[in-house]
Structure formats: C-alpha cells, structure tokens
C-alpha cells in the first residue's frame, strides 16, 4: 500500500475541513511531514487514504503581533521561526530551540505545529513554547478554541487533538516586556537518534535584581512536556546567584523525576545534566532580562 492515496493541499481552513469530511476517518493532518511521513513509511503507522497538508493555508503561515501577543502560525517552517526578528525579540528560547532542530533541510520544511502535534515529551520547540506560556489556537469544523499548550498533550506521542479532525492554527506567546528574558538549552548524545537526552527552557521576569516571575519547562521528565512548578515558586522573589542555584538544584530533584532510557541516558545522568542545564538557562535568561532592563534605562 502506498503511504497515501490522496495528498491534498487546501488553501483555506474551510476547504481543509471539507476534505476532512469527505475522507472520513482515514485521513491525517500533515505539515512538514518530517515526522509523520517517516512514521508511515517505516510502518509505525498504517498508510492513510488522505493526507491533508496544511502548509498552504494563509492563517497557519503568519507571524504577527495580535492583541498584545505574538502569533506564530503552526505551519511556518522552523527556519523562518528561528530567523524571525519578532520571535527573537519576544521568545529567545523559541528562536534558540527551533534553530537547533534537525539540520537545515529539515528546518526548511518542518514546523512548530508538527513539533507539538508529534507530542514528544522532549520536543525542542514544544519545551520552549511551554516556558513562554504559549497558547494554541485549534480549529475544527465546529469552530475554533484556544487552549493552553500543556493541555494539548495526553501522553508520549499522543496529543489531545482529535486526530485528523482538529488543526492547530498557531501559537501565541505574550510580548516580551522590559525586564524579561528567556533561554533554551539541550544536551545530545553523539550516538543514536537525534533527539535531546534532556532539554530545558526558562523564562524570567526580573525587577530590581529580584525574580518576580519564572517559568521553567523540562523534557523528557514524564509522558508529556513538563513545567517545574516548584522551582518557579522557589526562585520567585529571589536574586539569582550561586547560592540560589545550588538550592534550586535540590528543589529540581524533588519536583522533576527522570526515567532511564536504555542506550541513551540513565536517570542519574539526566539528574546530573538537569543541574547543568538549570544553571545555563536560568543564568542566560537572567542576563537577558537584566540586559533588557538596561537597554530600557538607556532609552
């Protein structure tokens, strides 16, 4: 059986839903296809009747400021996400993570919608979206809804979307204000699949040398991308320095548990790397937040 019978390229959401309806259950949404097509070819998924490619729908291709938030279309290729000045300005963590996914050819077609839709617990794009407090806009034939990113995940590789019926239109993140900054980092292994053994993204708001608000996302620390809520509260109101980092590391171990994955990393190694990444992403976000403060004062 070929991977698909019909490959459809709707140019509007209504047309997409029309296709979805006419092909019934045996259809799937595809974007860059860098995950899905390989999964079907390698028989991890059954071939389908129709693939509905959403990359030609204009709504899914926009990057723009809307209602005090930055909207990033689900089908914007990853290289355009990482290259976007707006993304670099409002979501450094996202620019960093999308710039590291795969190689240039994969980034030229792969998308954020697919990174989230694939629902891996350590999707690089997804982890930084989570730290940036992203919400997703999801459309179906019945209309559209907004949903917090974390709610989009059900389990490893399983999204909360209704398969082949719902389409992620895009993600929106708050505009970055003065005194805020974010960062992403990951550690890879030179052997085996090109997915991080651990990744982490942080977002901080700093006022008068104190953290007023924090968000930290970690993968793969469970079946779905995870926020480390205890750390966020623990560092709030405090100044980032070595002492705080040392304590924060302890808190991290109580709120984030890693699994051992054979051939990739033991939980112990991940625990160790979590400390390394925690320091990296918190320090970088802190400095970025301070820098933006300074930039403001100079104006």
């Amino acid at each position: 059986m070929p991977t698909w019978k019909y490959y459809l390229l709707p140019t509007s959401l209504p047309q997409a839903f029309q296709y979805i309806q006419s092909h019934g259950p045996s259809c799937l949404i595809v974007s860059g296809g860098t995950d899905l097509l390989l999964e079907i070819q390698q028989e991890h998924r059954a071939p389908v009747d129709a693939l509905i490619d959403v990359t030609r729908i204009p709504e899914l291709n926009a990057i723009e400021v809307r209602d005090e938030r930055l909207f990033i279309g689900a089908a914007v290729p990853l290289n355009q996400v990482s290259g976007s000045l707006l993304v670099q300005q409002h979501g450094q963590a996202l620019a960093e993570s999308t710039g590291q996914i795969g190689g240039p050819q994969v980034r030229a077609v792969g998308t954020l919608g697919g990174n989230v839709g694939h629902a891996l617990p350590a999707g690089d794009g997804a982890i930084s979206l989570l730290a940036l407090d992203a919400w997703a806009e999801v459309a179906s034939a019945a209309g559209s809804r907004r949903i917090a990113l974390a709610q989009l995940y059900k389990g490893p590789g399983v999204s909360a979307l209704e398969a082949g019926k719902e389409i992620i239109v895009g993600f929106d993140i708050p505009l970055q204000q003065v005194g805020q900054g974010s960062a992403f980092s990951r550690v890879m292994r030179p052997q085996g699949v090109a997915l991080p053994i651990i990744n982490m993204a942080a977002w901080l708001e700093v006022r008068d040398d104190h953290i007023t608000e924090a968000r930290l996302a970690v993968g793969p620390a469970g079946p779905v991308p995870k926020r480390a809520g205890d750390i966020e509260t623990f560092i709030q109101g405090k100044t980032l320095n070595d002492a705080l980092l040392t304590e924060a590391k302890q808190v991290l171990h109580t709120c984030v548990q890693f699994r051992s994955s054979p051939l990739r990393a033991t939980s112990g190694y991940r625990d160790h790397l979590a400390e390394v990444l925690l320091k990296r992403v918190l320090s970088t976000s802190w400095h970025r937040a301070l820098q933006s403060n300074r930039g403001r004062r100079q104006e």
Binding site: D53, Q105, L263, A265
Partner: protein, 934 residues
C-alpha cells in the same frame, strides 16, 4: 496534476499515490543525479533546491512541489556565471569540488553541491561556521569534509567575482616523477559532479521488475513451514522463489560456503537478515505487499548473542563445524619467562562495538538474461570475479556464461565484498526472463550486510624500568556473527597486529573467532586492526604512566624499525617509516603546545572545557599475506587515436584506484595522464584483479598495471624492431612518442604499425606478489606494512562529559605517494572514520535483534564533527611496490580511535575501555562522589 518546473523546464505530470519528489525526478524524469542514500531524511544525498531552498527530495511529496521550481544537479551548470570546463560546462562549485579533491566515491556529491549552492544563494560569503551549519546533515562517508569546505569557500568567492579556484596545497611526493607523485584529478570526477555518473540504481531497463527479499527477523530458529501461495496469486507478482527452487549451490561465501542463499524448511535460521523467499513483481509496492503475504512459521531457538557464550561447552552449535570458526595463535619466545623478567606489568580488558560501513549508496544489483542467453549482473562490487563465480554456482552455469558488470560504487569500505542481492537478482531474472533489480533500502542494508567485528580484547604487557617491552600477551574474542564471511582473515589480522607496531622478545596472542546469532561480521577498513590497535595503544599509554615515561618516548624506544622481528617472526628488511612518522607528529605537536601536550589544560574561552592531546601509532599489512596467493591481471591496449586503456577487474570505491592506475601506466609509457583511460570491474572486459581489499590495490593492481605497461613497451619494441630492422633497444619511448633510431612516431602511428602486421596492440600481464608465509611458520607473513602515528586533541565538557575532537595530526608512511591529492583526502576521510569509530558509532543488537536498523539510530560523523587535520606523508619506499608504493586505504584510519581515547584520559583521567565513548561515563568519572544521580 503536478505542474512543476525542473531545471527551467515545465512539466505537467499525473499524480501518483505515495510518490516522493526524488522518485519523480529519478524514475519519471530520468534525473538520476539526485541520489537516495537513506530515504529517511537523515543523509542529505537527495537534496535538491525547491525555490532556492534545500529540501530532502526523498521525503518531500512530489505533489507538494507542484507550482514550484526545482533545481537538481543536472541543472546547476547552466547557472554558472562563467562557462566551460575542459570537459563541458561546470558551475564554480562543481569545478571547486573537483579541484579540491572533494570527490571520492561521488555518491553524496550531488547532495553536497546542491546543499552548498542553497547556502551560497542565501549567504554569498559564508564563514567556516556557516558552512558547517549548512552541511550539518549532508553526510559524506568518504568524509572529505575539509575539501568540501574549502571548495564551498572558493566557489563562493568566484560567484561574488572576488576570487578564483586554486589548486589544493598538497606537496608532491619526494619520489615524484613526471606524473607519478604529482597531484592529479580523478578521470571520473567530471561525471560525478554533474550527476551523469551511473551507479547501479541509476540504470533503466525495459520491463524491469523489482526484486525483494523476505527476511526472517528471528535470530535463531528452525524453519517449520513456508507458504507462498497467497503471494503468488497477487496480481503483478512474477515469481516467488524459496530454497526449494535452488537446484544448484545452496550456499554462498567468500572463504567458507556457509551462508544460505535461501533458508529452507527444516533448515536453521542463524540471524535476523537470513532470506527465506524472494519475489519479483511489476512494482516495488506489489513486491512489498507480496512479501507480507508469505507466511513462515519458525521453531525459535535460544539465541547466542555473545562470542564468549558461544564458546561454552553446552552452547548450541550453530554450524556443523561447531561455533568456533577458528582459534588463531601467535607465539614468539616465552611470555611467562618474559613477564617474570619484567619490572612492571600492566593489563587491561577492552570491548569494541560492532559497526556498520554505512556507505551512502545502499546495495543494488540488477540482473538480466541478455540476447545470447547469458546472465548480466550490474552491481557495485568489490570482487566482481567472486560475484561471477557465486552467481554461476547458484545458477548451475559455467562461469563464462555470467558477466558481472561493475558499476560505480558509492562507498564500500569492505562492506561490498560479500554477496548481497547479486544471486537473488540472477535467480529471479532466470525465472522471469526479465531484468530484475534488487535494491536494498537503508533498513535492509543495515540489517543484512556484514559488520565490523565486535571484540573483547585482554592485553597484558611487561616492560623493563627503562620502558623496553619484554613480553606482550593478548587474548581476543571476535564475534563473527552468523556466517564466516571474511571473519577468519579479519581476526587473524586483529591477532597478528595485537602486539602493536613494537618489538617484544616474547609475544603470545590467542583469538577465538566465534559464530553467534548476530549479523555476520567481515571486512571493514582496518580489517580487525582497528580493534586491536585500540587495545594495545591504550595499554601502551597505561604503561607509560606507570613507568612515569613520556608516551612518545616509550613508543619510540619499542617501535619496529628495519631489522626488527615482528611477533609472527617476520624480519623487516625495508620500508619501516614508523619512527619518522612519530617524529613528524611529535615535532608538530611540540610546535603547537608549550609544555607537556598530554597535560590537561582549561580552555581559554570556556572554563568548563578541558583540553588535552593523546598519541597513538599503528601498522597495517598491505595485501592478502599469510600464504594466500596474491595476484592481479591487467591489460594495456593501444587505440587508433593514440590513447591507451588499462583494464583490471579491481574496484574503484572512492579510494582513487582509477587515478593511481592512470598515473602508473602513463608514467611507464611516458604519456600524458589524460592519454590513459582506465576500465575496471567487468568480468568480460577486464582481467581478474582479485579482491579490492587489504589495502592491496595500489600495490598489487598497480604492479599489474605497471608490468602490463612494461610488457606493452616490449611488444612495441618487438614489432617495430622487426619492421624497421633494428634491435629492440634502438627503439626508445619518451615524451609521448616512439623513436626508432631517432625517428619519432606517434602512438597513433604505432597502432597502425601493429594493425599492418595483424597484431593486436595489447598485452595482458598477471602480476604475482611476493610469496608470503602462513601464520605460525615464521618468515614473511606479509610483503609490506604501512605505518602511522597520530595525535588528537580533544575538548571535554566537564559538566556534561561531551567530547569534541579539535585537531588531528597524522603522519602516514605510504612508501610513495602516487597521487598526493587523492592521498590527502584518504587521510582526512580515514581520520574522520576513526573518529566515528571512537565517538559516534555503535551498531546495536539485543538478543540478536537489530536496534540500529535505521540511519536515524546509527550516527556517522558529519562535517560538524570534522576536526582540523594536519597531515604529513612519510615515504619509505618498498622495493617491489610500483614506484615504491604500498597500501594507504586502511592505515590512515587505524590510530585515530586510540589517539582520541588516550586524549580523553589525559584530559579527565577516565580510561575508555569500551567503544564507542560514553559521555555519561566521563561525566560520572569527573564528578564521582558528587554525582547526584544513581
């Protein structure tokens, strides 16, 4: 409909379900310059530009390209700002790839060039870092990454009208002659950069069927039943064959005929890649569907997945001859007395992983019964004559009724010596009387072909206080997997080299080559010595530390030199450049580093990164050796236009044999290199050159070419002396002409002279290499050895344990550098392959089942891993070698792994004794008790 512009031309094509852009380009438009290396978005070989952006055409739906413009390698030259290379139009990138020597096997090259072109369109003046970022996922297994990077930089300058393409800075050989020893470009380079070069899968035939193989996917079982009735009934299936259809040979094999062509009912399955049925069908989809309809039941057996287990007395015997393929022994002196006499003794055990060749071109064979009822097999093979014999045996035909036509080979590295699809394609072609193509996808390639042996090696060395080696003892277990392949030979080389390139009065080595239910292991660049060099070179560093001695001094003191006696009892009479290799690397090292290079240093840029150097040496035999007759035939023929062709069946797999043969013959005949054409690997047209293995081509096939050229000169002298009534020695050949008593005559005229007396202007010479002795008999086990030393600088992240190799300094004694440019890229590619062996590569199985069955799970080094490589060529000629040359292909890769792991030890104190390097273990070692995790 698909409305698509390809290379400036508009096409309107029917949509096909499941069709990717690469399929459309290759099979519908015949643009076979776009290659498929993996089909899983990992290798970048299939890169084309879609509206100026590089995309992977293997996983880009063809319909999605509708309405867009596609540029493939075939359309690039037209984009050239300035026209014409001597052989036709080339884009500056294409020209630069040739000039810099970036083209080796050539299979990845279209993808490299297209990815680079995409980069230059977006960024006309890229930095080194930009180039590395852009080419990160466009893999070259021949690993000419430095050459590629230089080519892109200069092509960019040409495109900006700011520069020109300059020759690569490679010194001539110290033994340089008129053409030998001076940089030359590959005769086949032009076709490789334009996409015209034909690899097997690029051929198209009328009525071509697709052949596929039913694999067992169980590691050990007895086949209970095979039911093919459903598959046979599927429309479009033309033939289904099982073992019951084998009327002649049941097995194949390079040394031992132990590998079933098809495993039949009641017979033993020995690994997951065993074949139980083959199918020919109208399309690949039908063939795949039919495979699923074949029902096979198995009586599964306990799996032997470890060579030590295989040797246990109660273990199931996988072959009639037992599980022991061979016990290999080296004995010199008395090691017990030697250790008693030693002041210090160091011992340690090592494990090396199975690794895969991961040539970018997967295996492909096409077979067809021709008009005369003969079988033609088109295949990129390292041993065409052996293919011919094995195919003929399976068909029950005389060998002459089979013709193996060697195609270009997209990388081999030892992995294209065994039979893969050749026999299956021929059986299906015989049955259907139609051409049949058996092309493996990456998954099947990884599953089926023989790997590098996983080994367990124990080393014990004893030395005097001053560092002099007294006694060395090694014990090796080699996992040769399900079938023998070249296992015995590989592990013999591992064993005889396990003492290292050192002289020790007492030496003892034992190796147990064991059958298991893992994929077979066979030849892989280094031929067993990669593994034993890692073990002995690590131990030498441990010994140096224990003695408080400089590791380079220790090696110098014990290094083999002229007059030394090897562990097999061979006295080395000449061509032992090891000390000079060590000196060359050492002086470069001392120039670069103040103080002890083996001390750890904190990086200036980042205090979390620690750097240190590591050192290693190696040696590797040239040629088959061990008493095996080692011969090669070559023809030299003169054509009417005055050009000469040299022919032998040896294979060009990217290593540069074509150029080497051309230079040798041109040198001897006093012709310009361009006047010599090379034809390889066709059993009808080229004489048997023997296997392309064991670094033997430059020496053995090169000698065949050289002697054939000499014989041809004799023939010319004979013919002309007779005609012009003078003595042969009054006839002189020089400067592209023949002089008879001073009167000049062109080669074209010489051709006419032959024809006028009805003599064919051609000769054949079968060269026999010096006789060698089998292991255990002392004397010359090999007729030549190559030597090398390397130093590697690593940077270890103390937090994460991540390792990066920054620099490699390499010195290789190759006798004579016949083609210095070709040698330069062999050195780089070999070092990068050694780096992969150390850091990235592990072919993993669990209870005989393959885990790394996709390229996504088996990483080979990319340009981002590629370090700065500084190369020194040492040239201690071999008297019997062509112009003094000996082997190159393997030695360049062998010392890299231990140089890296010794550097890691020097940086961190962590001794790597299991390959590949596990960064987690380094981090644990550095942080020890402070390590937070369990």
């Amino acid at each position: 409909m698909i409305e698509i512009k390809v290379n400036g031309k508009d096409y309107s094509l029917e949509e096909k379900p499941g069709e990717m852009l690469a399929d459309l380009l290759r099979y519908r438009l015949g643009l076979t310059g776009t290659k498929i290396g993996c089909g899983e978005a990992e290798c970048g070989a299939c890169t084309v530009l879609l509206d100026d952006s590089p995309v992977l055409s293997c996983s880009y739906p063809a319909v999605k390209a509708s309405g867009h413009a596609v540029l493939t390698i075939e359309g690039l030259a037209e984009k050239s700002p300035k026209p014409v290379h001597e052989e036709g139009q080339l884009h500056p990138l294409q020209e630069a790839f040739i000039t810099k020597g970036a083209v080796q096997c050539g299979f990845c090259i279209p993808g490299q060039i297209m990815t680079s072109y995409g980069l230059l369109l977006a960024n006309p003046d890229p930095s080194q870092e930009d180039i590395k970022a852009a080419l990160k996922d466009t893999l070259c297994r021949c690993a000419g990454y430095s050459a590629i990077s230089e080519a892109v930089t200069e092509a960019g300058a040409v495109m900006r009208s700011e520069g020109q393409i300059t020759p690569r800075e490679v010194p001539d050989s110290v033994h340089a002659r008129r053409v030998v020893g001076r940089t030359a470009h590959r005769p086949e380079a032009f076709s490789k950069v334009t996409g015209e070069a034909k690899f097997s899968d690029d051929l198209q035939f009328e009525g071509l069927l697709v052949g596929r193989t039913k694999r067992t996917y169980v590691p050990h079982a007895i086949v209970k039943n095979i039911d093919v009735t459903k598959a046979e009934k599927l429309s479009g299936v033309r033939a289904v064959l099982t073992a019951a259809d084998l009327k002649h040979a049941k097995n194949h094999g390079l040394v031992v005929n132990d590998w079933p062509i098809l495993v039949g009912v009641g017979e033993r399955v020995r690994y997951v890649g065993d074949a139980v049925a083959i199918i020919a069908a109208d399309t690949g989809e039908i063939a795949t569907a039919a495979l699923k309809l074949i029902e096979v039941t198995y009586d599964e057996q306990p799996v032997i997945d470890d060579p030590v287990k295989a040797r246990e007395p109660e273990a199931v015997q996988l072959h009639e001859t037992g599980n022991l393929l061979k016990h290999i022994k080296v004995r010199k002196g008395d090691v017990v007395a030697g250790f008693a006499d030693s002041d210090v003794v160091v011992e340690h055990s090592y494990h090396t992983a199975m690794t895969d060749h991961a040539f970018i071109e997967p295996e492909c064979s096409i077979a067809r019964v021709n008009e005369d009822g003969r079988m033609e097999v088109y295949v990129g093979s390292q041993i065409p004559y052996s293919d011919r014999k094995q195919v003929a045996d399976a068909l029950g035909w005389p060998e002459e009724r089979v013709r193996v036509i060697g195609m270009l080979i997209g990388g081999g590295f030892g992995g294209k010596e065994d039979i893969m699809g050749q026999i299956h394609a021929a059986l299906l072609a015989e049955r259907t009387q139609r051409p049949v193509k058996v092309l493996y996808d990456r998954h099947e390639s990884l599953l089926v072909h023989p790997k590098r042996h996983a080994t367990q090696i124990h080393v014990k060395v004893g030395a005097k206080k001053d560092g002099r080696l007294v006694s060395v003892e090694t014990e090796l277990y080699g996992d040769t997997g399900a079938y023998a392949s070249l296992g015995e030979k590989v592990l013999t080389r591992a064993t005889t080299h396990s003492i290292g390139p050192y002289e020790s009065d007492h030496a003892k080595a034992d190796c147990y080559a064991m059958y298991t239910n893992n994929p077979p292991a066979g030849a892989f660049r280094g031929f067993g010595v990669t593994q034993s060099a890692f073990a002995i070179e690590s131990t030498m560093d441990m010994l140096a530390e224990k003695l408080g001695m400089d590791p380079i001094e220790l090696r110098k003191m014990n290094a083999l030199r002229v007059g030394s006696v090897t562990s097999t009892g061979q006295v080395l009479h000449e061509s032992v450049g090891l000390l000079e290799c060590i000196d060359k690397v050492e002086s470069e090292l001392r120039k670069r580093v103040e103080g002890n290079p083996f001390d750890p240093r904190v990086s200036d840029e980042n205090p979390d990164k620690i750097r240190a150097w590591g050192f290693s040496t190696a040696f590797k035999n040239t040629g088959l050796g061990g008493g095996a007759p080692d011969e090669a035939g070559a023809d030299v023929e003169l054509y009417a236009d005055g050009t000469v062709q040299v022919r032998t069946s040896s294979a060009e797999l990217g290593q540069g044999l074509c150029t080497v043969l051309r230079l040798i013959v041109a040198e001897e005949l006093e012709l310009p290199a361009e006047k010599v054409d090379v034809l390889l690997s066709d059993t009808d047209l080229t004489p048997d050159g023997g296997p392309t293995t064991a670094s033997r081509q430059t020496y053995v096939s090169g000698n065949a070419g050289l002697h054939a050229a000499k014989a041809f000169k004799q023939a010319v002298r004979g013919v002309l002396a007779e005609k012009y009534d003078c003595t042969p020695d009054q006839i002189e050949i020089s400067s592209g002409q023949v002089f008879i008593c001073g009167r000049g005559m062109s080669f074209a005229e010489v051709y006419q002279e032959f024809k006028s007396i009805h003599r064919e202007p051609k000769v054949r010479y079968v060269y026999q290499a010096p006789v060698t002795k089998p292991l255990g008999q002392g004397g010359d086990m090999h007729f030549a050895f190559s030597f090398a030393a390397q130093a590697a600088e690593v940077e270890v992240d103390r937090n994460t344990g991540e390792v990066k190799v920054l620099t490699i300094i390499a010195a290789n004694d190759v006798g004579t550098a016949i083609n210095p440019l070709g040698l330069a890229v062999q050195v780089e590619g070999g070092a990068v392959m050694g780096l992969g062996n150390a850091l990235t590569e592990a072919f993993l199985t669990k209870e005989g089942r393959v885990i790394t069955d996709r390229l996504a799970r088996y990483r080979i080094p990319s340009i981002t891993h590629s370090p700065e490589i500084v190369s020194f060529i040492v040239e201690h000629p071999v008297a019997t070698g062509p112009f003094g040359a000996k082997g190159v292909g393997e030695i360049v890769s062998i010392p890299t792994t231990p140089a890296i792991t010794n550097a890691i030890y020097n940086a961190t104190g962590y001794r790597v004794d299991r390959l590949p390097v596990d960064q987690e273990l380094i981090a644990r070692h550095i942080h020890q008790d402070k390590f937070v995790g369990k």
